[in-house]
Symmetry: C2
Subunit: 398 residues, 2 copies
């Protein structure tokens, strides 16, 4: 469903704070024209942007919609340190949430949309314990918000591909059940056999002609080695433009020369990168990645879940985190974080996005004198528009 | 001015989320009793805590109230990298703000109080360019909010003590004009003569019997050496308990053995430490500092000023930053950050603070199931109480 819409009084980024506000006409779900005092064609709804900053909508390209307790009573963190304990802790608890996965994922996706994201890539855990239950919850959330956001779903082997017999079959079943991409998880550090892990993941992707998104927390030379293994498979299977490395801590834990090699390798194979701006990890080399043309997006990760109390569905808050953690003060660098959170994420998903005429009318209006001020204040979004239709206003779904 | 007050329905930290809410009676500015369904003595006002978490009020122990543009039109960041350029950029711009220092400092202090802080230590820049103008602005803000917060003021040589002739005399004039402590700034890295810089600062402190608070961004062995120089002067002048090292990046940029030596040295000399939880710097060793008994507080630093666009006066948001940047997920560690932001800061100031009967009734009520949830949500404060009187409610001054 696409719509026509006239948005009055917004300042399209990156206009200066002194530039006069303009009106924006959306037609058939796309940006049609910008200008002062535009006339709404007969029957076209008119909404007020209140002079806010107009941005392309946010793209949350690393969500775990099946993993959140947003809106539920707070539970203390019960996991010990380390990935294995986090995995097992989640297994012990997720089934006892006060609401099922579909309801929780639908709520979290709604919060994400209300905060300005209309493009989402969510992982959905697939393993021998939960089977396809969690995937089905995420697919239900996607369906519930089908008119408000485009959601890609990754069949995500949170418990490894090799450690538990039957996982590969479940991943394939997930693809047949509606998942769009195949996931992976620390092929060496967690699954202990990087080559066989990646061969299973890429084998499924090749067989079903799907994209790949691999969680790679493994750092240093071990992580770097796996970036190479991934790129080798991209080349062998002709999968340029269809593979993402998430987290990619290797990039910020090797020396500068090795980092440059890895970034060039990712660029040459058109492998995308996503980050969630973790607080205690060294930030990714954002400028180098973008300079070399690597598609780079931002995500929320899990939100107030059995893994971590952080996260609220707000990609503007997450863009703030990316800027804060990177020590950025200059407006152009804060703006770069917003670009990563909007157009960068869309590039990871391979969809057009922007504020040029003809672009999809997926938009967000944020109060603020400038985009930096908007990031610093993180005020509720004035308007969120998907395909030319208002889907949220004042921070709430409409 | 102190008051009597009955606060209904709060859950004093660290009670469990399942504990029933209680009432709190404040008498003559102090905590008198906790219990279910307390009776208000005749004439004592009653306010509703709405079941929120009750904390000791926040202590912002590293503010720069003279350096903010909160509530003014946003200005892009114009400074280059490096401390010297930040100093000169501020000099070029601060006088052209739409409002003077007193008005801006008063506004920022009001925002800080409305967000739950009733204890503040603010630096006020003293240098040959601004003279005592900025100090006077901060003193005016303190006076304007005298019933709402206790504010200590540091005469802060933002442009060095030695680089510009006449600064030492101005620092002394600042002490006579109402500043409480003498400040310092990177005695080696910025002022280029650590011994003479510290001798001037500690000389003034000794002569006027005031405390000292030194900004020490210098890292690694150079910063560590200056920590030693400071402690030597604390011992020689018998200033235990009256000196603070702010930022103290040296602590997180030396190896673990040297870090332990420095922390033990600070503890032995009862030198306090403050941090502002900077995004791109390695976090301080919070647990080691507290384990060794070093008084440790948190501050806002400048707020949306000519140095940086970050900062909003909200110490709960800053406590979130401290937890996020430290990678803390466990509730007890998030709670430790809140303790640093409340009682820790009070210990830096040397004033009693807490939720025990007889403690000053300086309190904040925050919505949330638990203190971790409150930190994650950072919702507007339900109530802020100073000396038994409500000074803010719903995020606004009353």
């Amino acid at each position: 469903m696409t719509g026509d819409l006239l948005i009055r009084s917004v300042r399209p980024w990156p206009d200066s704070p002194d530039a006069p506000a303009v009106d924006v006409l959306c037609a058939d779900g796309a940006l049609a024209s910008f200008g002062p005092a535009l006339q709404a064609p007969p029957g076209v709804p008119v909404v007020d942007g209140r002079g806010g900053v107009l941005l392309p909508s946010f793209a949350d390209v690393h969500a775990h919609l099946d993993s959140n307790r947003l809106g539920l009573p707070f539970r203390p963190h019960t996991a010990g340190p380390g990935l294995a304990d986090l995995v097992e802790n989640d297994r012990r608890h997720w089934r006892t949430a006060e609401r099922g996965v579909a309801e929780r994922a639908t709520h979290a996706l709604g919060r994400t949309i209300a905060a300005g994201a209309t493009l989402v890539r969510s992982h959905a855990q697939v393993d021998v314990d939960s089977g396809l239950d969690r995937l089905e919850g995420v697919l239900a959330a996607r369906e519930a918000h089908a008119d408000r956001a485009a959601v890609e779903v990754v069949a995500f082997p949170q418990c490894g591909v090799l450690r538990e017999k039957g996982t590969a079959d479940l991943l394939e079943a997930a693809l047949l059940a509606g998942a769009d991409l195949v996931g992976g998880l620390d092929p060496a550090g967690y699954d202990r056999d990087p080559v066989r892990h990646l061969d299973v993941v890429f084998g499924l992707a090749d067989k079903h002609q799907r994209g790949v998104d691999v969680h790679l927390h493994d750092a240093g030379s071990l992580g770097a080695f796996q970036v190479e293994l991934i790129c080798e498979r991209v080349a062998a299977l002709d999968m340029r433009g269809r593979v993402t490395v998430s987290h990619a801590f290797a990039l910020s834990t090797v020396d500068s020369d090795r980092q440059r090699e890895l970034v060039e390798l990712l660029a040459a194979h058109d492998v995308a990168v996503t980050t969630v701006a973790p607080g205690a990890r060294e930030p990714l080399p954002l400028r180098r990645l973008r300079r070399e043309g690597v598609r780079l997006g931002l995500g929320q990760d899990g939100m107030r879940d059995y893994w971590s109390p952080y996260g609220n569905g707000d990609m503007l808050d997450r863009a703030w985190q990316l800027a804060y953690r990177s020590g950025f003060r200059q407006d152009e660098l804060v703006g770069m974080c917003v670009d990563i959170a909007t157009r960068g994420g869309a590039s990871v998903l391979g969809v057009p996005h922007g504020l040029t005429e003809g672009s999809p009318a997926d938009l967000v209006v944020v109060p603020g004198d400038t985009v930096t001020a908007a990031v610093m204040d993180r005020a509720p979004r004035t308007l969120v528009v998907r395909a030319g239709r208002v889907v949220a206003a004042g921070g709430e779904l409409v």
